[in-house]
């Protein structure tokens, strides 16, 4: 962000924006994308059965890899200025801020809503309360 006077002018001088990506590289990237797509389908439909969180993880990792290929080569971010790189990846990063909302949904049951046994001291100690169910009570997991 703190581009100085000189860098600013270097920006003008550079020819990076004119970088021509060779067709062979484009084809390799396209091949990579097709392989990625085939992998996703294989993992989801034909692949070995795995725990569901793991399946989601794999699907999302492949999707991110494909997205990275597209951004880096098809969109040519690899060959642009740092500034454009910051914008390109900063946007993705910022979108993940929405995930903060999951904290709410993940910890809402810590709230002393009716049905919870009264907590000892703090509203946040209720998890312990559940752990204190007598051991002879059989809980099936």
């Amino acid at each position: 962000m703190a581009t100085t006077h000189h860098e600013h002018h270097d920006d003008h001088g550079h020819d990076h924006a004119h970088h021509v990506i060779p067709i062979s590289l484009l084809m390799k990237v396209f091949g990579g994308l097709i392989i990625g797509m085939a992998l996703t389908v294989y993992a989801a439909i034909f692949g070995p059965k795995m725990p569901v969180q793991f399946m989601w993880l794999i699907a999302m990792l492949i999707a991110y890899a494909k997205a990275f290929l597209v951004v880096q080569y098809f969109m040519g971010v690899k060959y642009t200025t740092k500034l454009v790189k910051a914008f390109a990846y900063g946007g993705f990063f910022w979108a993940t801020l929405l995930l903060i909302m999951l904290t709410d949904y993940g910890t809402r049951q810590w709230e002393p809503v009716p049905g919870w046994t009264p907590g000892e001291e703090s509203a946040l100690s209720r998890d312990l309360e559940i752990d204190r169910v007598p051991e002879d009570v059989q809980i099936h997991h």
Partner: protein
């Protein structure tokens, strides 16, 4: 808008607010990326809402998703990947000044985009909408029948409605982007053929290309999220 450096007829037009062509090109690229950041934030809440409800109602969403055919989605993914490749090629040719090859790539992209929308409408939206399986109050009655006809188990219709609400909202917004892409590509081809003074270098093609790659990116995430949901 007048140019102040139109000494050479084929020289790129530099608009009056810019010093030189380099500054203009960089500004355009940066502007386009700012727009794409904005587009990312536009789709992000939809993805978030979908992710949240998938987390909460995974089993029902899994059952509801059985009405989507992963093969059709896969074909559409392939089509979009090809179109993205074609756009990358067209930027390549534009940089080399090979206008004919560039135009062919653009036409191919338009064909892909049109095929994408046609497949989406023909095999996914129209059958569902004509059976009343789109998010409306009657969905609750219509959906179990429709699922039975297709031989797939029906999910809790209330949650299936939530699933299809999000499905139509997100893929609808994506399809809208595809449709806008077609219009923009057509305009680009028209201007190139007309040898418009607006298009004298490869930058407009690259701008449209960036937009199109973004549309592709969204689909790269949509496909596994909607069509390839893992068994809970």
């Amino acid at each position: 808008m007048s140019s102040h450096e139109s000494t050479h007829p084929d020289a790129p037009v530099v608009y009056e607010q810019f010093e030189d062509i380099g500054q203009q090109q960089e500004t355009y690229v940066l502007g386009m990326w700012s727009f794409l950041v904005n587009e990312t934030m536009f789709f992000a809440p939809l993805f978030f809402v979908y992710g949240l409800y998938t987390w909460k109602h995974h089993a029902d969403f899994y059952l509801a998703h059985a009405l989507l055919d992963w093969r059709i989605g896969g074909i559409n993914t392939f089509i979009l990947l090809m179109s993205s490749f074609a756009v990358a090629l067209s930027v390549h040719y534009a940089q080399k000044g090979r206008t004919r090859a560039q135009l062919n790539c653009l036409w191919f992209t338009i064909a892909c985009a049109a095929a994408f929308i046609w497949i989406k409408l023909q095999f996914e939206w129209i059958p569902k909408i004509s059976h009343g399986v789109f998010p409306n109050p009657e969905f609750i009655q219509n959906y179990p029948h429709y699922a039975m006809e297709h031989g797939v188990p029906a999910a809790d219709p209330y949650k299936a409605r939530l699933y299809y609400s999000l499905y139509f909202a997100i893929t609808g917004l994506h399809a809208l982007h595809v449709a806008i892409g077609i219009i923009v590509f057509l305009a680009l081809i028209y201007l190139i053929k007309k040898k418009s003074s607006l298009i004298t270098d490869y930058i407009p093609t690259e701008m449209v290309g960036l937009y199109w790659h973004f549309v592709d990116l969204v689909w790269i995430f949509l496909y596994p999220l909607f069509y390839l949901m893992p068994r809970p």
